[in-house]
């Protein structure tokens, strides 16, 4: 028994240690994005090298994890999936019991670092859905849809309870994308969306007051210019005053003079827009589109259902981050704590995103394998 385990471990290590087989276009896209992130962060933090250095360090850590995970073959990941899912969900329960955080209990203190278990679900959720659908007959029928629904609802519900509606929606979206990509019939999708829309008044009833305020403020930001409306107004002023070509790097007055709140984290896109203008925004969105497209390309090249669904769901989730953050900054969507991927300052987000891309790299590297 021990001998067998040892041999398996040696075989695993050998696989991991062989030369990296990453997807070069995707890697270039991510690298460009990370560099753009550091440049923007330098300006948004008023030239704080400590901040930029810390973020660069996290990119290095995330990059290393990316390379490591890219060696793990998808079947291995698939085998681990249920445990990862159960494990991360258990951590969520733990957070509910003894978590700590700023107003919202989202963080778990690990002694060395504080860490947000809900971040894990962004990856383990699509993994779990892909794992469940992998052996099934596709497109899925109602029974499978209901099971997937339950798999999504449990962690999403726990996260929404924390309360962190933004992340809950992102996690749920990641699972839903896997379901969508599995070929779920359009009429079923339509029916489900209709049902969800019907639930909105009920959801409103269960929302926290601050969540309601954010949505109400979005509809009329000027009603509360010093409270909830402040973020939306100042962010739009930053974006709008940037114009077509922007004010130039390090010339964002909104950020430099602290009018823009959270200008290194959730609202860094506003700084970017103010400094680089519509041209910069279009270029950045194009870069994101390229990365998402490349993810979906890798998904289409994969040979097994698990890999396809997982890669596709990760790519599409990436879109949601960009869309939700961009929509928030531009005053289209309510203020939710969703960072702009690889641009916003913040460790957990950057590292967990790179880990997801590690999974993609692995799927790409093992696309020719059949299990």
């Amino acid at each position: 028994m021990i001998a067998v385990a040892y041999v398996r471990w040696r075989r695993f290590l050998r696989r991991v240690m062989t030369r990296p087989r990453i997807d070069v276009p995707l890697a270039i896209g991510l690298l460009t994005l990370a560099l753009a992130g550091l440049v923007t962060l330098y300006s948004a933090s008023n030239g704080s090298l400590a901040l930029v250095g810390g973020q660069a360090g996290r990119f290095v850590l995330g990059g290393a994890l990316l390379l490591l995970i890219s060696r793990i073959p998808p079947p291995v990941l698939r085998n681990w999936t249920p445990w990862l899912y159960v494990g991360s969900t258990a951590l969520l329960i733990l957070v509910v019991v003894l978590g700590e955080g700023r107003g919202a209990d989202r963080w778990l203190n690990l002694g060395v670092m504080r860490f947000q278990p809900s971040e894990l679900l962004k990856l383990t959720m699509p993994m779990m859905v892909a794992w469940y659908l992998h052996p099934r007959q596709l497109p899925p029928g109602w029974k499978d849809i209901v099971v997937v629904g339950v798999l999504i609802a449990i962690p999403a519900g726990l996260i929404a309870e924390q309360p962190d509606l933004g992340t809950a929606l992102l996690v749920a979206a990641a699972g839903a994308f896997a379901l969508f990509l599995s070929g779920m019939a359009w009429w079923r999708i339509g029916l489900l969306i209709g049902a969800v829309a019907g639930m909105i008044p009920v959801g409103w009833h269960f929302m926290h007051q601050y969540q309601r305020d954010r949505i109400l403020t979005l509809l009329n930001p000027e009603s509360d210019p010093l409270g909830n409306g402040w973020h939306i107004i100042q962010s739009q002023i930053a974006v709008g005053s940037g114009g077509i070509f922007g004010k130039g790097w390090q010339h964002s007055t909104q950020s430099r003079l602290d009018f823009l709140p959270e200008h290194t984290t959730d609202f860094i896109f506003a700084v970017f827009s103010e400094e680089f203008g519509l041209v910069g925004v279009a270029a950045l969105i194009a870069l994101y589109a390229f990365i998402i497209g490349r993810c979906l390309w890798i998904a289409m090249e994969a040979r097994d259902t698990y890999s396809r669904l997982l890669a596709g769901a990760i790519g599409m989730s990436f879109f949601v981050y960009v869309f939700v953050n961009g929509g928030m900054v531009a005053g289209m969507l309510p203020v939710v704590g969703v960072p702009l991927p690889l641009i916003s300052y913040g460790g957990t987000s950057a590292v967990s995103l790179l880990v997801s891309f590690g999974v993609l790299m692995s799927i790409h590297a093992h696309r020719k394998m059949h299990d």
Binding site: P135, F180, L181, V239, G240, G242, Y288, A299, F319
Partner: protein, 654 residues
């Protein structure tokens, strides 16, 4: 599992996935295009709007209040200065919990109830983002203690400012007045643009009447602020124009001498240059320290001032009204000459009592039994009531008040101070308006000795004497001689044209009265005999002792106790010098004086001495007397062995 597996149609699934992924990607591109569209809308369509708002966010105009003009005396001695000080200011918008902040702050910098009341009043008047002064004039200790604790008080700052300082304190408080903090009531009346950033405004005296000149024009600077409202840098500065400096015609040495001469006794004195109306000294005793009012006077200090029975806040020179008594007799005599009712040689016999023909009521002379036959000059010298009883009766009240009105009685003199009392010049119309009663001849008689309804202010009387001394040319009294725009700028004299041609048609009439008034000083029976002892130039003067109360009997009063008399009388003395070329006219009043000449006279003399000293002992244009002489000059009259004092008037009112 294996069975299910074989059922799975991998190829079909792959194709299905491909379709879904492509559909998904198209939807994603659609979503991202929407996003770019939204950014384009903000950055292109609404660009201008947001540029303006970003600008308004960060660039705030800040008013730069002008420095208040300084005030100097005629020789450039500084009378009102601006000195740097520090105050606490609060931006309400940045204070999360105002009552808690004030409570906490009060433990570090003591905040009086006056400070807090004023602050709350201002708070309701100002915008949330405007800085409101909380406590003025911080001590070094308070500044240090606040600096250490500053981080605990967002929105509270120590701000430098200029504070008004009156180096001579009480000496000029009734002339210059004082500035006070602008309060909520002022804000409703002031031009908000001109007074942006200004904390003080002239409250009384010249500070008030010359507010427009002293204030200046505010400038502004454009500052870049961060979201906390803290200044980052100054983008543009438009400097304020400081207020103009004022040069008073007052000489600080005369002012000091005048104030000291009262020795604390309530009264007032005004000295005017008859040639141009310039006020050389103006005091009202007792006085108060104007510096107390600058930062808002404390309740205790204020009660002390208002509770004082000598009323130090009361400007007697400008607002106090007193019967002029005998001081106006020379002007009445002049009226007799000018109207042709008298010649200088006409005489009247003083028997001690005067009767209106056909009436029983007697009007007394001051000396029992009278002084005999007197002409106009002697009547002035000895202040003979009977002469003036008869003269005024002959003139009649209408001609009488028309004549005296020309000297400015019964209306404000037009001095450059606010709140001047017009006094009362008795006339048929005035009585009809105030008492709805006809005029009685007896009232004309007592008007002839400056009693009855007649009431004048010291400024008014000084102005009238100056008008006479200036050969009948009236100038409105002026305290401010010149203005100066900036420290090194040339002085710009303020014009003060005469009020009209001379009131005196025949210059010889002036000479007669002038001579009579010199005899008051130099005549052996003159009421002011001896006052000019040792003074090298000719003085002309007139005493006045006005009754404070109506007499109830016509009996002579034999009580000569000084304190008793002082409680009944107002003591006046008016004079000008040099009598042959008048350059200063003085009126002094003691609210409680036994005799005009002996009590108010020395005050006038001390002012004249100071005036002479200020000129280095030499007066251009005046004829210098032989040093031995107080008895010199043609003014010495053949009078009996007059005893001093023979006092001014005693009046009788019906």
């Amino acid at each position: 599992m294996k069975i299910r597996r074989s059922i799975k149609d991998n190829r079909g699934e792959s194709a299905l996935f491909r379709r879904r992924a492509l559909t998904g990607f198209v939807l994603i591109l659609l979503g991202l295009s929407m996003l770019v569209g939204r950014f384009a809308f903000l950055q292109v369509m609404r660009h201008d709007e947001f540029v303006t708002r970003a600008q308004n966010n960060r660039v705030k105009p800040r008013a730069l209040p002008p420095a208040r003009g300084l005030i100097y005396d005629r020789n450039g001695v500084l009378l009102a200065d601006n000195v740097p000080a520090f105050r606490l200011e609060v931006v309400p918008e940045q204070v999360p919990d105002m009552p808690a902040m004030l409570a906490q702050l009060g433990k570090i910098v003591p905040l009086g109830r006056d400070d807090l009341d004023a602050f709350r009043k201002l708070l309701t008047q100002s915008q949330r983002f405007e800085s409101v002064p909380l406590k003025m004039h911080l001590t070094e200790d308070e500044i240090d203690r606040f600096a250490v604790n500053r981080w605990r008080f967002p929105g509270v700052d120590v701000v430098p400012y200029l504070i008004r300082r009156y180096p001579f304190g009480r000496l000029f408080s009734h002339v210059i007045g004082y500035v006070g903090r602008i309060d909520a009531n002022d804000l409703q009346q002031l031009d908000p643009v001109r007074y942006k950033g200004t904390s003080h405004i002239g409250r009384s005296g010249l500070e008030r009447s010359y507010e427009d000149v002293l204030h200046g024009t505010p400038g502004y600077e454009l500052i870049e602020v961060n979201a906390d409202g803290r200044t980052q840098r100054v983008l543009e500065t438009h400097a304020p124009t400081p207020g103009k400096n004022l040069y008073l015609s007052i000489d600080v040495r005369l002012q000091k001498a005048a104030a000291a001469a009262f020795d604390g006794r309530p009264g007032a004195a005004v000295a005017i240059d008859p040639r141009n109306g310039q006020v050389l000294a103006m005091v009202s005793v007792p006085s108060f320290d104007p510096n107390l009012f600058v930062n808002g006077i404390s309740q205790t200090d204020y009660s002390a001032l208002t509770g004082d029975q000598d009323k130090p806040l009361y400007n007697r020179a400008l607002r106090g009204v007193y019967p002029p008594g005998s001081t106006v007799k020379p002007l009445i005599g002049l009226g007799g000459l000018e109207t042709g009712l008298r010649t200088p040689e006409d005489t009247v016999v003083s028997t001690g009592v005067f009767y209106i023909p056909g009436q029983q009521r007697g009007y007394r002379d001051d000396v029992r039994g009278g002084v005999g036959r007197v002409d106009l000059e002697q009547a002035i010298e000895m202040s003979v009531n009977t002469y003036f009883y008869k003269l005024s009766l002959d003139m009649g009240i209408d001609r009488f008040s028309a004549w005296m009105g020309k000297f400015g009685f019964g209306r404000p003199t037009g001095i450059d101070l606010m709140g001047e009392s017009p006094g009362v010049l008795p006339s048929r119309e005035w009585k009809a308006a105030h008492f709805k009663q006809p005029w009685y001849p007896g009232e004309t008689v007592i008007a002839g000795i400056g009693q009855g309804y007649w009431a004048v202010t010291p400024v008014q009387l000084a102005h009238a004497i100056a008008t006479f001394a200036g050969h009948g040319v009236a100038y409105a009294p002026r305290l401010v001689m010149a203005t100066q725009a900036g420290m090194d700028a040339p002085l710009k004299p303020l014009p003060n044209p005469p009020g009209g041609p001379s009131l005196i048609r025949n210059p010889a009439d002036w000479d007669v009265i002038n001579k009579g008034m010199q005899m008051v000083i130099y005549g052996a029976r003159g009421t002011g005999y001896g006052l000019a002892k040792g003074f090298p130039y000719l003085i002309a003067g007139k005493s006045g002792t006005a009754e404070r109360f109506s007499r109830t009997t016509s009996a002579y009063n034999n009580d000569k106790n000084t304190a008793y008399l002082a409680s009944r009388h107002r003591a006046w003395f008016v004079a000008y010098a040099p009598a042959d070329h008048p350059q200063i006219a003085v009126a002094a009043l003691l609210e409680s004086g036994a005799w005009g000449a002996s009590d108010a006279g020395p005050i006038v003399r001390r002012i004249l001495d100071a005036w002479l000293a200020a000129h280095g002992g030499v007066i251009q244009g005046g004829e210098r007397l032989p040093s031995s002489s107080a008895s010199a000059s043609g003014a010495a009259s053949a009078g009996g062995p007059g005893k001093f004092p023979v006092s001014g008037s005693t009046g009788a009112t019906p």
